[in-house]
């Protein structure tokens, strides 16, 4: 066919453009331009009803800045820091979910009858996830009539108020997330990773008389590092942006802001209080956080860190 070095003709360019244009036009209008517009908007005040006003970096100062009063440091927007903290708190569920997924994948990665059956069952919550599952969990976590507190009462434990308690609201959401995610995408990826480990390595370890823990610690875990890294990075990126749907449906961000995340805060500023510019500024900060994680991924993710 075509050889490298042959000049690309205008005809070929036109053909390619024809193939590309449906996607490219949509991409320009709904992704590229909005990104640029988002940055511009973050430098403005705009309530949608009066003309936008350019305010420079004012939004960012209001968002990230601080002032001192009687020797005490106060943040200009304490809510932002609180909600950023909530977002990080919820992300502490990531390593727990990953450990559960790995455990499930390792148990499933044996020659067992009914593997596919169990894999399908474990995947069900991931498939069903959405508003329906969130309502279901509200019902399960209902303090008086919920399934969970009923089961706890059988073993004489008085369950907490879960979503209605300031202390338990975040752990409740993390518990739901564990149920949803442990048998989902991460488990599938770990299964694929486990199947890529050469069995000879385990046989050699057996000859050396290695224990099960040794095999896990020195073969399984190191060889799964690329998979672990990938799952961790994508979960962290998702975690920064997440938390809106569940909080909106199940708690409205409460009680007292306990479950409001950054994405919820952006939503509130933009679509409840119509501070478009300020919301765009928070989104830009969020973008920065995601960018840092992505750069770490590019810097270290390509190396496929393992020790063999």
């Amino acid at each position: 066919m075509r050889k490298k070095g042959t000049p690309v003709k205008w005809r070929e360019n036109l053909t390619a453009l024809a193939f590309l244009s449906p996607n490219l036009i949509g991409f320009l209008i709904f992704t590229l331009l909005p990104v640029l517009a988002g940055f511009l908007l973050s430098l403005c005040h705009w309530d949608l009803f009066h003309p936008p006003r350019f305010v420079g970096l004012r939004n960012f100062v209001d968002l990230l800045g601080w002032y001192t009063d009687e020797g005490k440091v106060h943040a200009n927007d304490p809510r932002f820091w609180k909600y950023l903290g909530n977002t990080f708190f919820l992300m502490m569920g990531i390593p727990i979910n990953m450990a559960a997924s790995l455990l499930l994948a390792m148990v499933l990665n044996q020659k067992l009858v009914g593997r596919t059956f169990f894999r399908t069952i474990f995947f069900l919550p991931t498939i069903c996830m959405g508003v329906g599952v969130m309502l279901l969990w509200m019902w399960i976590l209902n303090p008086e009539f919920g399934l969970l507190n009923y089961l706890l009462s059988l073993v004489n434990i008085q369950g907490p108020a879960w979503l209605k308690s300031y202390a338990w609201a975040k752990p409740s959401l993390m518990m739901m997330q564990l149920w949803v995610a442990m048998g989902g995408t991460s488990m599938i990826l770990y299964l694929a990773g486990l199947q890529g480990i050469p069995p000879e390595l385990y046989e050699a370890a057996d000859v050396d008389g290695a224990s099960g823990w040794d095999r896990f610690r020195h073969i399984t875990l190191p060889l799964l590092t690329p998979t672990t890294f990938f799952i961790f990075i994508t979960s962290v990126i998702g975690g920064f942006q997440g938390g809106f749907d569940a909080a909106y449906i199940m708690t409205r961000g409460g009680p007292d802001g306990a479950t409001t995340t950054i994405s919820y805060y952006i939503f509130s500023h933009a679509f409840e209080w119509f501070n478009m510019g300020y919301a765009a500024a928070i989104a830009v900060v969020l973008f920065g956080l995601v960018l840092v994680v992505t750069l770490i991924n590019w810097r270290y993710g390509g190396k496929r860190v393992h020790y063999v």
Binding site: M1, L124, I127
Partner: protein, 280 residues
């Protein structure tokens, strides 16, 4: 270690594995079954006793009630229409662009592709506000346009299909080229038929993603007539916080189509996750 005790310990390990898998499996399924059971319990008994697992009799009228009371039929039609249109649009535009990136030579190809990849990391909350403002200027808010058109173009889908197209041996197209087939002919008659698994994977991922999408429909729809199922369910919850039987019936209706698509296309779905994870 004697061979006898080795078999015994292996059996023990298998037994423990099954026990573990069953316990986890049950904890996955029980909440879903409880949802179905609740949806069929007596609607008059608003205070539902968790100790009573099974409904006294099957109250199918709950489904009828939720169907009529919140105009669920309309929401179901909206969701179906939007999801099918978004899925078809994404598969169509992504496969065309992926073909160009995988098979054609043109000016700046690799740079444009890198641009596509770079936008995968832009949070949707960044683009959400400007796109909302754009749609507002176009007077598209509260219309199917707002629900469908911005969701029809996917950098992820383009990436997924490009990876698959690259894995198809180019020799297969040579015969078509000799026969005087155009680029579009190759796309239509060679690449697409060979890519059914990847196209199915993208279609299923898009279908489920679009079906359960909540934040965007919440932002761009304001009237009941335009609500998709998730938004309709959420607004129903605000009206009737205590009617758990109806809420669960609505949830079952919302979840069933996703389950169906998953059961039909499970093989492609799981393959799609693996392909999507192998970046670059």
């Amino acid at each position: 270690m004697s061979s006898l005790s080795r078999t015994t310990s292996r059996r023990l390990a298998h037994g423990l594995s099954y026990l573990f898998l069953s316990v986890v499996g049950i904890s996955m399924v029980v909440p879903l079954l409880w949802m179905v059971a609740t949806s069929l319990k007596s609607p008059t008994a608003d205070v539902l006793d968790p100790a009573q697992w099974l409904p006294d009799r099957l109250h199918w009228e709950n489904y009828h009630k939720v169907w009529v009371e919140i105009d669920f039929a309309r929401a179901l039609v909206n969701s179906t229409f939007v999801t099918v249109a978004v899925t078809a649009g994404q598969v169509f535009t992504s496969s065309l662009a992926a073909f160009a990136f995988a098979r054609l030579r043109f000016f700046g190809r690799d740079k444009i592709f890198l641009g596509y990849l770079a936008t995968l990391m832009v949070p949707s909350t960044v683009t959400m506000i400007p796109v909302f403002i754009l749609l507002r200027e176009l007077r598209w808010i509260n219309s199917y346009y707002a629900l469908i058109i911005p969701a029809m173009f996917s950098a992820y889908g383009t990436f997924l299909l490009r990876q698959f197209f690259l894995s198809i041996p180019p020799d297969l197209e040579d015969a078509a080229v000799i026969d005087g087939c155009s680029s579009f002919g190759i796309y239509r008659n060679v690449i697409l038929p060979l890519s059914k698994p990847a196209l199915s994977a993208l279609a299923i991922l898009t279908f489920i993603g679009s079906w359960r999408s909540f934040m965007w429909p919440l932002i761009v729809t304001h009237e009941k007539e335009m609500f998709t199922l998730p938004v309709a369910l959420a607004s129903f919850q605000e009206m009737f916080t205590v009617q758990w039987t109806l809420l669960m019936a609505g949830s079952v209706i919302m979840i069933l189509p996703m389950l169906l698509v998953f059961i039909v296309g499970q093989r492609f779905f799981i393959e799609g996750i693996r392909v999507g994870a192998v970046k670059g």
